[in-house]
Amino acid sequence: MPSAFEHNPTLSVPNSVTTNNSVVIWDGANDLGEGTIILTDGAVTGVDSVTFDEISHPSYPANGKGIMYSTSDGDLWWQSNVGGSNTRIQLNASSSTFTGDVTFNSGNLVIGTAGKGVDFSVNTQSAVSGAALVTGGELLDWYEEGTWTPIVQDHSGGIMSQQTNGPNNNGGKVGKYTRIGNVVYIQCRIICNGNGTANTAQTVTIHGLPFTHQNMFNLQAHMAVGFGAAWAITAGVGPGNWIEPGNDFINMAMFDDAAGTTNMFIAGDLSHDGQIGLTGHYFV
């Protein structure tokens, strides 16, 4: 392709020089890096843009160099040579796709619209088989981490007293969560220091979950109690905790491996200075 200057002898670019068929806009000392550059062998149209006329894929440039160009289908290409390693990336104009690995050296990948995310459907059977995509089932559209406050509460709304020492006066009711997609991972530590307003004869539950559990019939979410202390329970019983569908609280029960019975956990079982360490995950 001939240079633009050969076909446009009247072309005048203020504050510019030409070098090897390139136009560099500068102020006499510094490359300004802005302005309008139109490289074409046809009619010159458009402003405030850099226009790349279409060419076939050129050879890779010399070490340490990169070139940008477009092809006849409108795709934009960047081709570089770093230490003898050739790299080519493509921005596909017709399908808004990108070819090549992407590294963000500074800054984040920001999703600008709620509900959008990273679509993995190409890896899954529905895409391979051509079957209809399960809406949302292959889209990673949520990541969030934060804290929550576990509160032990009886069924009348009475609340066990929990320690308030430590940072944020929250030492006896510490909880963290991370939500990835539609799964919420939780962890908490509860340290009671009194019965508070709770009725010691009533069943208690753990409230304060960061999200409500998905309301799917029979889909309980099961929590693991990895730590307990100072409980007022009899030998041979162990805890079992779970979240019922559609709920924002954790049920607590005691399994009696000798009697083979299950009883709900009451405030008196936890006792005024009982502790619970719990972890688990559930769907939203």
């Binding site: 406050t149 069943t203 304060g208 960061p210 999200f211 019922e244 559609g246 709920n247 924002d248 709900m264």
Partner: protein, 88 residues
Amino acid sequence: MALTEEIYVDQVTAIEDEQLQVRTATVIKKDGEEISRTFHRRVVVPGADLTNEDPKVKAIGEVLHTAEVIASYKARIAAQMAEQGISE
């Protein structure tokens, strides 16, 4: 150097049976520039006391948590507990 802390409800999501998922953001700024943002979450269910709630949550709750919605939510929870053999 001036450090400031702002705490506010930045997200309220009404879900099935009008439970409100509430996210509170704590934003730390240094000389006006945000340097930290952390989240705390909880759920406000129909029938919960809205008296001391954040104004945004209270306003939404007062609209959505009608007597009918509260009754429906409580009936669902009661049915679950009955199924588990739990009595209030």
